[in-house]
């Protein structure tokens, strides 16, 4: 399913990313989650708008990442090393 016309939030913010309706819905949902968890930290509507703009930018960033094709075998750069403590002289042999 393709998105209809993209929309730009905050007519006063010329740098606001232009989001598709789907991306807009994702951004709105994420802002709602932030408000639910951290709403008491938002002093006023300006704070809320600031967080909203930041989320919109992140959604836009994620869209940029998705334009690069990745294959199933393209692994993330994760440096995971299974832990094993150094052997000691008192270790019991099973």
């Amino acid at each position: 399913m393709s998105d209809p016309e993209p929309t730009r939030s905050g007519a006063t913010d010329p740098d606001a990313p232009t989001l598709s309706p789907t991306a807009r819905a994702v951004a709105d949902a994420r802002l709602a989650a932030v408000v639910a968890r951290h709403g008491h930290r938002l002093a006023d509507n300006e704070d809320r708008a600031r967080v909203g703009r930041a989320i919109e930018r992140q959604v836009d960033l994620a869209e940029q990442l998705r334009r690069v094709p990745l294959a199933n075998h393209d692994e993330p750069e994760i440096d995971f090393v299974p832990f094993r403590a150094p052997d000691t002289d008192t270790e019991t042999t099973l």
Binding site: D15, R30, A33, V34, R37, H38, R41, L42, A43, D47, R50, V51, A54, I55, Q58, L61, A62, Q64, L65, R66, R67, V68, L70, D74, E75, P76, E77, I78, D79, V81
Partner: protein, 474 residues
């Protein structure tokens, strides 16, 4: 009266060994200069006179006993205030943490002590290394970092105090850190030389973590020679501080002798970045390229097509949001200096894991493509910043927010690559400009050689601001 701290590290080291000065005199001179000009520039968080004078006394005793710990022996330095120092506050630039004291030293501080260096100050920085998304210069509990060349201009961030203090001649060198631009920006804005090592080259143990996969620690000094000497002392890829278990290629000995490859250096020029720079920055970059052409070949290049900035942003946001989740939950962000920082990273608390992992997957591809390009050159070069330091009162959106075109900073930091910035002259409002040279992973030696070759033919790195310290020891 002549400045007791003038000259490079090698010169100061020679003066110590000739008896022309002593580690104690150098420490006292640095402490006095930092107290006067360092405070004026908002570059100082904490002076460490007791520690400094004790370390200086030990340095003198060691030399008297025939123990020479190398070129940094008895030389004073400042450390960005995100490096832990036992018993001395480490505030990470944040008012809510101004009384934070650790019981251990960062690995870098340990290594510099082993090299005989003298810690004279914890230097100012942008709060939480800028991780909360500050949008203007006034984003530290010590006030906005002031530029050594113009106190009404920004020093850059997040290693603000390190950049300004070195430029003003208050310390011969300082330690900074970079997640994305935090060494190169203040170095370029203040007209000094800054080296961002390869990710994993320098242990991060005891340093504030903003982004576990992007944080690097490196030297900020007056010349490539000095950066090489400091890097040789602090490089330590120990498993506790490095995310990589494999041992990187060793650094060469810092001989301070320019070692040009046979046939000269090969430089790739990010021409689009030169074209996007302010006119004076571009003109200085062109002049610098003409100097580089004396020691090598120049070829215009483009970076492989990847959304470097988007990937780097997503990674930093996700990791910083996790690293500071408790800081936010405890309400400490409300005490940060910049209003925008008080609600910073709330947005990233809902950043999807799949977005973060996609950025990490893309990083591997981008790193391979970049290495294939860099394998053909000793360095890719571009203006470090497209403009000079903005006025303190200027919102960042009017500078950093504009379309910047291709950037070495985003690509290099995403992929953990080393870079060095060298001063190239002066631009608008008489403020310094810089050129960045970026190389292959663990290719610091070649970058240092290229920067030394440039500085052997120019004197921009020897320029000092008119107000540079001439304070004499008490």
């Amino acid at each position: 009266m002549s400045d007791p701290l003038s000259g490079g590290i090698a010169d100061l080291a020679a003066r110590i060994r000739s008896g022309a000065t002593t580690p104690t005199r150098l420490a006292e001179a640095a402490l006095a200069a930092l107290e006067a000009d360092g405070r004026r520039l908002n570059a100082v968080v904490t002076l460490t006179p007791d520690l400094a004078l004790a370390e200086a006394a030990r340095a003198e005793a060691d030399l008297a006993a025939g123990i020479d710990r190398g070129p940094l022996h008895g030389i004073p330095y400042g450390a960005k205030d995100l490096l832990a120092t036992a018993g001395i506050p480490t505030a990470w630039g944040a008012g809510p943490l101004k009384d934070q004291v650790f019981d251990h030293d960062a690995a870098v501080v340990e290594r510099l002590r082993a090299a005989g260096a003298t810690l004279v100050a914890k230097l100012a920085m942008v709060e939480i290394a800028g991780g909360f998304g500050y949008e203007q210069a006034n984003a530290s509990f010590t006030g906005p970092g002031r530029n050594a060349w113009d106190a009404d201009a920004w020093a850059g961030g997040s290693s603000s105090g390190s950049g300004a203090a070195v430029a003003a001649g208050l310390v011969p060198y300082a330690i900074g850190s970079e997640t994305w631009g935090s060494i190169t920006t203040p170095a370029a804005f203040n007209g000094i030389t800054g080296l961002r090592p390869t990710y994993g080259r320098v242990s991060r143990r005891g340093a504030m973590a903003l982004s576990w996969t992007m944080d690097k620690i490196g030297p900020m000094a007056r010349s490539a020679d000095d950066c090489g000497l400091v890097l040789a002392a602090i490089a330590d890829p120990d498993s506790a501080g490095s995310a990589r278990g494999d041992r990187p290629p060793a650094l060469g000995a810092s001989t301070q002798v320019v070692s040009a490859p046979a046939g000269g250096f090969r430089f790739g020029v990010l021409r689009a970045a030169v074209a996007a720079a302010d006119p004076a920055v571009a003109a200085n970059a062109e002049a610098a390229l003409a100097v580089l052409a004396e020691v090598g070949t120049l070829v215009d290049v483009e970076l492989p097509d990847f959304p470097y900035a988007a990937a780097a942003s997503v990674i930093v946001l996700a990791e910083a949001a996790a690293a500071f989740e408790d800081f936010i939950a405890d309400g400490l962000a409300a005490g940060l200096a910049a209003p925008e920082d008080r609600v910073g990273l709330l947005d990233a608390q809902t950043l999807p894991a799949v977005d973060y992992l996609r950025a990490l997957r893309l990083r591997r591809l981008a790193g391979c493509a970049l290495d294939a390009l860099l394998a053909r050159y000793d360095a890719i070069v571009a203006p470090t910043l497209l403009f000079v330091a903005p006025p303190l009162s200027a919102p960042f959106a009017s500078y950093f927010g504009r379309d910047a075109g291709p950037s070495l900073g985003a690509a290099g930091n995403l992929c953990g690559l080393p870079a060095i910035t060298v001063p190239t002259g002066f631009g608008d409002r008489g403020l310094p400009t810089g050129l960045e040279l970026m190389g292959r992973a663990f290719g610091e030696d070649r970058l240092l050689d290229a920067a030394r070759a440039y500085q052997a033919r120019t004197d921009w790195h020897t320029r000092r601001p008119p107000s540079a310290a001439t304070t004499t020891p008490p």
